[in-house]
Every structure is written in structure tokens, then in C-alpha cells.
């Protein structure tokens, strides 16, 4: 079965420290991977995606993610966290069979403390 896992419900980081939000996936074929962020009572916003090419993908607001095929992971990273980064983060994978459905992880809540 095709799936996405975010093993941490919550990640706590001090402002200025690096942050990592973990994501692993299970799909057949080449994966299309995405990260989205959601602020309270808002829709999701696209951060970045991996389709092909360089394993390190840079996105919005200073975020980046590293695609690791051998570990089937796509962890989200930022060198220096801001309090304003506190939000709910979703990893997602595009499934090409049966239409272009996207499977979302359960989400990881990031708290950045001043």
C-alpha cells in the first residue's frame, strides 16, 4: 500500500536552532513528494516539492528538504528556526494511479520557543 508516515506528532525547537521534521514514504515507482504548512484555521500552503534531479530541494521561507531514496525519506529542514515557523507541517506523496491523488501524512506540529 502507498503511504506517508510522519513519526513525530510534535517537534519542539528553540529559536535560532536548526529544525528537522521527519517524513518517510512507501510508493511504487518514482515518488513525487511535497511539504505543506498549515497555520491555525487556514488552508495548507505549499512549501516545496521533489520531482526529480537534485536530492536537496529548497523552498519557501528558508525551508529545504532532502530526498533519500535508500531510506525512503524526505525530511524537512531549516538551519535556523523562527517563532513564526510554529505551525502544522504535512508531508505528502502523489499517487499516479487512479488519478492524481495525494496522500498526506498525519502532520507534525512544530513549536519554536523564543
Amino acid at each position: 500500500a502507498q503511504s506517508v508516515a510522519q513519526p513525530e506528532d510534535q517537534v519542539n525547537v528553540a529559536e535560532g536552532n536548526p529544525l528537522t521534521v521527519k517524513c518517510t514514504y512507501s510508493v511504487s515507482g518514482n515518488p513525487y513528494l511535497f511539504w505543506y504548512v498549515q497555520y491555525p484555521n487556514r488552508g495548507l500552503q505549499f512549501l516545496l516539492k521533489y520531482i526529480t534531479g537534485d536530492n536537496l530541494v529548497k523552498g519557501s521561507y528558508g525551508f529545504e528538504a532532502e530526498f533519500n531514496k535508500s531510506q525512503t525519506s524526505f525530511h524537512l529542514k531549516k538551519p535556523s528556526a523562527l517563532v513564526s515557523d510554529s505551525a502544522l507541517y504535512f508531508c505528502a506523496v502523489r499517487v499516479l494511479k487512479g488519478g492524481f491523488k495525494t496522500i498526506f501524512g498525519a502532520g507534525t506540529r512544530l513549536f519554536v520557543k523564543a
Binding site: N41, F100, T102, F104, G107
Partner: protein
């Protein structure tokens, strides 16, 4: 630029009443459209998606239905709401066709539905 609208923003409805949520997209043509439900502020459940006018695919058997009467309009409906229909409903669009598989989705602001 493209924008996506959803209304209403919030809705409180009694059990057994009908439902109609609307989503419209501007600034693009023939988008793929999606309805999601988000429960308890966490995971997203795909309810319906559409690759064209009148083409609806249902992901989960349920009390809801969807329609796409126009290219950039997507409607979520129910004839009789259940308590379990409460949640945060999100509409999204992405690029169309094969290339659409590579494209990110753009989400609307959501509708918070409470069924009492």
C-alpha cells in the same frame, strides 16, 4: 494570478439538514479539483476529486456528494447531515493532465462545519 475561494467560512447546521459548500477557482483553466476533510486539526482525508466538468471520483463511501457544474466550480453537498460530518473542509486545485501529477496543490481557506 490564481486564487481559490471557499464559502461559507463557518457553518453550524442541525443533524438531518442539507449542506452545500462551494469552491471556485480564478485565473486558471481546466484545473484538477479536490475536496478534503480535516478532523481534529490533523490529517487530511481526500473525499472527492475531479479532472473535468461532470467528472467526479469518490474516495470514501459516505454521506456526501460532489459536483462540478462549471470548469472552475466545485460543490460539496449532503442531503442529510450527520454528527460525524463535522470538520474542516478544504478545497484545492492543481494543474491538469499528466503534468498535474507533478504539480503542487493550492488550497482554499476552508470551511469549518459544525453539525449539532
Amino acid at each position: 494570478s490564481q486564487t481559490i475561494h471557499q464559502w461559507p467560512a463557518t457553518l453550524v447546521q442541525p443533524v438531518g439538514s442539507p449542506l452545500s459548500l462551494e469552491c471556485t477557482v480564478e485565473g486558471t483553466s481546466n484545473p484538477n479539483l479536490y475536496w478534503y476533510r480535516q478532523a481534529a486539526g490533523r490529517g487530511l482525508q481526500l473525499l472527492f476529486y475531479s479532472v473535468g466538468i461532470g467528472q467526479i471520483s469518490s474516495e470514501v463511501p459516505q454521506n456526501l456528494s460532489a459536483s462540478r457544474p462549471q470548469d472552475r466550480q466545485f460543490i460539496l453537498s449532503s442531503k442529510k447531515l450527520l454528527l460525524s460530518d463535522s470538520g474542516f473542509y478544504l478545497c484545492a486545485w492543481s494543474g491538469q493532465g499528466v503534468a498535474g501529477g507533478r504539480n503542487e496543490q493550492f488550497f482554499g481557506p476552508g470551511t469549518r462545519l459544525t453539525v449539532l
